[in-house]
């Protein structure tokens, strides 16, 4: 695409990297949290529920700032990571973490809704057929919530493509390193004469989101047909 700058291509690549990594890393955890929320009766369950949903209602900038405190040099996790020479702030990892935290509630919500609609009798039937709790989870519960997991992943992927507030605070806006599509657009709008370039990235963004929607729709239909 001739109307895109090389830095724009970087932004597109980075957006994809961040969205893919955030989705892939969060999915197993999301399944685990959804399972705990739906099937277990542990103390502090409402606390876990509140914590996972919080990023949905908080302004992303607040989430970003809290993450910055947590992962900063003097933060709980940051100081521990420093000892192991791992840098999160102003890196791609930081962008992935920011996207993961912001998109996580959408993922958990979707999986949870899916798991809640599974008739508990299927799990009972599996148990009486000699299947243990883990076996039942992997052969009955997970396959039956497959569609919900997929929908959750799509939502999370789309949310990560558009993530701005938390990312700019935790990972900054460094072209080629942490500058994803929304951050690049933001920078163009602040640059004199950058309108045209902002607009072309906007078009890319629209196109990408539309493709994600199409893929998600097609996949969910094929899951229905099975």
């Amino acid at each position: 695409m001739p109307f895109l700058q090389p830095s724009d291509l970087d932004a597109i690549r980075l957006s994809f990297q961040v969205a893919c990594a955030a989705t892939v890393v969060s999915t197993p955890l999301g399944i685990g949290v959804a399972y705990v929320l739906v099937y277990t009766r542990i103390p502090g369950k409402s606390l876990i529920e509140g914590l996972t949903n919080l990023p949905l209602v908080l302004p992303p900038v607040v989430v970003g700032y809290l993450l910055l405190l947590l992962f900063g040099r003097r933060g709980w996790i940051g100081s521990w990571l420093m000892e192991h020479n791992i840098q999160v702030i102003f890196t791609l990892t930081g962008a992935i973490i920011a996207s993961s935290v912001v998109g996580f509630p959408l993922l958990v919500r979707s999986i949870r809704l899916g798991m809640e609609t599974i008739d508990p009798a299927y799990r009972m039937a599996a148990r009486t057929l000699g299947s243990g709790p883990w076996d039942t989870f992997f052969t009955v519960t997970l396959p039956l919530s497959g569609k919900a997991v997929f929908v959750g992943m799509t939502l999370m992927f789309a949310r990560s493509l558009g993530e701005f507030g938390a990312t700019i605070i935790l990972a900054g806006n460094i072209p080629g390193i942490t500058q994803t599509i929304p951050l690049a657009i933001y920078e163009y709008t602040g640059t004199p004469g950058g309108d045209r370039m902002a607009l072309s990235l906007c078009l890319v963004s629209i196109l990408l989101s539309y493709v994600v929607l199409l893929i998600s729709g097609a996949a969910s239909r094929s899951l229905d047909r099975r």
């Binding site: 009972m124 148990r127 000699g130």
Partner: protein, 352 residues
């Protein structure tokens, strides 16, 4: 012979279940109206619900013992369950459903061959189908085969025939009979239908308002239920293979022969005969339009309101007849009295 010893208590909200019994047998029924605690007991036995206190023992194995903190997980109990709504896994083909439990059964316990059960229940053509495309009867057969293949020590069936139409119901019962006699698996059959219970079991446990204690022979229950108004007793006759007799059919019934209009293709055919369809005579009627004239001895008489139930001994068989008190007086019926029972060839209705 399976032995089941139960002494448990369970509270579920406002509902209390107390079960206290020991049964020995191959085919046990659990009979009672809905809401009487039948399903709760099934869940407790299968390990899907935990009793508040008490003990559960199957043969020599303790399944649950609150005093000794024993509570075997469902998968460790080796008790199969056929649920009312069968619960076939919708994401698997018929074949994968069938083998789900079999694969999880220890190799040394697998004494039932999948091919054998597929043949008995005629599932061969269905194996590669998705379960969502099966009819109600097919689903129930697949669910039964899936459970039988785990080679369980006991199968619990929770109202497996409810929701199937009459014809299909009796078809499934004959499948059930062939499976349970061929593979010799003990059965606990849960139902609110007296007919189903009578066709499937020899003795029963009675569930009434959350209490499961009473135990009796299935026929005994069938007779006792007769005294409730509007209910009539139905004789279930196990007849042999029919032989043609003119344009009718002759069947062996114990040591006597009966003549019926209806043909039965099995080696053993079950017919029902309403107790009201039998007419009693003091002496042998010289000529009658009815084809069956059986000399009998009165064993017992029970009166309830304006109905009298007469139990007859006909050769080696028993037959129950329902008459009115006026007839009882005129016939001078009393235990030990000889009478003649007359039944039309068309009064028998084929069940199985």
């Amino acid at each position: 012979m399976m032995q089941l010893a139960v002494s448990v208590h369970k509270q579920l909200g406002a509902f209390n279940l107390t079960a206290d019994f020991t049964v020995t047998g191959q085919r046990i029924g659990l009979f009672g109206p809905s809401g009487s605690g039948k399903s709760t007991l099934m869940h407790l036995l299968a390990g899907l619900l935990k009793p508040d206190r008490g003990t559960l023992r199957l043969d020599q194995t303790p399944l649950f013992d609150s005093a000794n903190r024993i509570n075997l997980a469902p998968e460790a109990r080796r008790i199969g369950v056929v649920f009312q709504h069968n619960h076939l896994f919708p994401h698997m083909s018929v074949r994968r459903n069938l083998l789900y439990g079999w694969k999880r059964t220890p190799v040394h316990e697998r004494h039932i061959d999948p091919e054998a059960i597929i043949e008995v229940l005629q599932l061969g053509k269905l194996l590669d189908r998705g379960v969502n495309l099966l009819s109600g009867g097919e689903r129930q057969r697949v669910a039964l085969a899936r459970t039988v293949l785990t080679c369980p020590r006991l199968i619990l069936m929770d109202e497996p025939l409810t929701g199937l139409d009459e014809e299909l119901k009796f078809q499934i019962i004959s499948y059930l009979n062939s499976v349970f006699s061929r593979f010799e698996i003990p059965l606990l059959f849960i139902s609110h239908s007296l007919m189903e219970i009578r066709l499937m079991t020899e003795q029963i446990l009675i569930a009434e308002q959350g209490v499961i204690k009473r135990r009796m022979a299935t026929e005994e229950l069938a007779r006792s239920i007769w005294s409730t108004p509007g209910q009539s007793y139905v004789n279930l006759l196990h007849l042999g293979r029919p032989q043609p007799l003119g344009d009718l059919w002759s069947y062996q019934w114990g040591d006597i022969r009966l003549i019926l209009t209806e043909y039965g293709a099995n080696n053993e055919n079950i017919f029902e005969l309403d107790a009201r369809e039998i007419v009693l005579f003091k002496h042998h009627p010289e000529a009658t339009s009815a084809r069956n004239v059986l000399p009998c001895t009165v064993r017992n008489l029970f009166t309830a309101g304006n109905r009298v139930r007469v139990e007859l001994q006909c050769g080696s068989n028993t037959l129950t007849v329902q008459i009115v008190p006026e007839s009882k007086r005129e016939l001078e019926l009393a235990p030990g009295k000889e009478v003649v029972a007359v039944i039309k060839a068309s009064a028998f209705k084929k069940v199985l």
